[in-house]
């Protein structure tokens, strides 16, 4: 069983304090929403959890059966979707998926890839070069990339970005499926996306509501 623990996480940008004292623990089945005004640090907190950015203070730990997972090994256990993350535009969707499977050390299963692409409605576009994708299709493909290795920790930064109503429903289904076995953290201000969560942090208010230590 996996768990995620943040202890007194603080982040400064230059001399500006972005947030301080962020502490929580999450267990499989839980969905946490991080909301707040633009520039409040939602995406930064998600990047800190992913290990892409170092916190100024505090700790981010991930555990498997109470054993800590090393930072460098964490990539195998997390999937992330964010507006700043892009896939290789010169490759087709399937080639992208094959590449990410191989660099992650996961065996590439074409059928599984097509199955996940089917879940987000991209099966018929699997062989198209990503450069020709619309922004909504690219967002769907990012979801596929994040789900490929069935990560126990799913980080979604504005997951509904560029998605239509059908796409939003897909995100809802993904979060619902993830609830069966893993942890989900969503950074968003969209009410619909925040409503997926059972716990919420509002970084603008610097107050943590509904958080059990």
């Amino acid at each position: 069983m996996y768990s995620l623990k943040l202890s007194k996480v603080r982040k400064y940008y230059s001399r500006t304090l972005l947030f301080d004292g962020i502490s929580f623990e999450l267990y499989p089945g839980e969905v946490l929403a991080i909301s707040g005004w633009n520039g409040s640090g939602k995406s930064t907190l998600l990047r800190i959890i992913a290990g892409l950015v170092q916190p100024s203070a505090g700790q981010v730990e991930m555990f498997f059966r109470d054993e800590p997972i090393q930072r460098e090994s964490r990539r195998r256990f997390l999937g992330m979707v964010a507006p700043a993350l892009s896939l290789y535009e010169e490759l087709t969707a399937l080639e992208n998926m094959e590449f990410f499977c191989r660099v992650r050390g996961v065996s590439y299963d074409r059928g599984n890839c097509l199955n996940i692409m089917g879940r987000v409605g991209l099966t018929e576009h699997a062989h198209k070069i990503c450069r020709n994708y619309s922004s909504g299709m690219k967002q769907r493909l990012k979801l596929v990339q994040a789900l490929l290795h069935k990560p126990p920790l799913l980080l979604l930064d504005e997951p509904g970005c560029n998605l239509d109503t059908k796409g939003m429903k897909i995100v809802e289904n993904i979060v619902s499926d993830q609830r069966q076995f893993g942890i989900t953290v969503i950074a968003s201000n969209e009410k619909r996306e925040v409503d997926y969560a059972n716990r919420v942090i509002n970084l603008s208010e610097r107050s943590h509501s509904n958080l059990a230590a």
Binding site: L52, E72, M80, L85, S86, Y88, F100, V103, Q145
Partner: protein, 196 residues
């Protein structure tokens, strides 16, 4: 393209007749390595910058082991350098009528120094990928790092052209030592650069 343009410019302006016979081995070695190094620098600096500009750097950070990324980029840069040497060196020899007494030593020098050039520029390219003044920083960091290698490569090519006793191939051994030091150091340093 940069390499071919430079080579043509050099051959037109200097040619093979304006240089005294005794000066040719040294000057040709200098010219050859100037063309190779500057052509390599213009292309190899892009290996990580391209990922940063395309926004794929973070997704790669999330998916791949840092050392695998470094070795992948190194392999790509070495392939690029190999192709560059395969095109430029025969052209240079042909256009400048470059006589080489010890072709084996000359080839070993090109290969070993090429590996060193690739290893040195790959780690510098990783360092500057997130900086704002990338071009200037790449040159500023690369030149001191590549200077010992360039001096060794020029000396080695000169000796191969003149036909001075090359027993033990000292310049090749220095270049190989440079490659080993640079790759080992990069394998330790790269994860730190890569993580933040």
């Amino acid at each position: 393209m940069f390499a071919v343009t430079t080579l043509i410019a050099v051959s037109f302006s200097i040619g093979s007749f304006r240089i005294a016979e005794a000066e040719k081995p040294f000057l040709y070695a200098v010219l050859l390595w100037i063309i190779l190094v500057f052509s390599a620098l213009s292309g190899l600096s892009r290996s990580f910058v391209k990922e940063e500009e395309a926004g794929t750097m973070d997704v790669l950070r999330l998916s791949a082991r840092p050392r695998a990324v470094f070795l992948g980029k190194l392999f790509f840069n070495l392939t690029l350098l190999g192709a560059l040497e395969l095109i430029i060196v025969p052209l240079f020899i042909l256009v400048m009528k470059y006589k080489i007494e010890f072709p084996g030593f000359f080839a070993a020098m090109l290969i070993s120094a090429g590996l060193g050039l690739g290893a040195g520029t790959t780690i510098v390219a990783a360092m500057i990928a997130q900086a704002s003044a990338r071009g200037a920083l790449f040159s500023a960091l690369s030149f001191p790092l590549l200077l010992p290698l360039m001096i060794t490569a020029i000396k080695g090519c000169e000796r191969a052209a003149v036909g001075i006793d090359t027993a033990g191939w000292p310049e090749v051994r220095i270049a190989i030592a440079y490659v080993v030091i640079m790759v080992v150091m990069s394998l330790f340093l790269f994860p730190l650069i890569w993580e933040e």
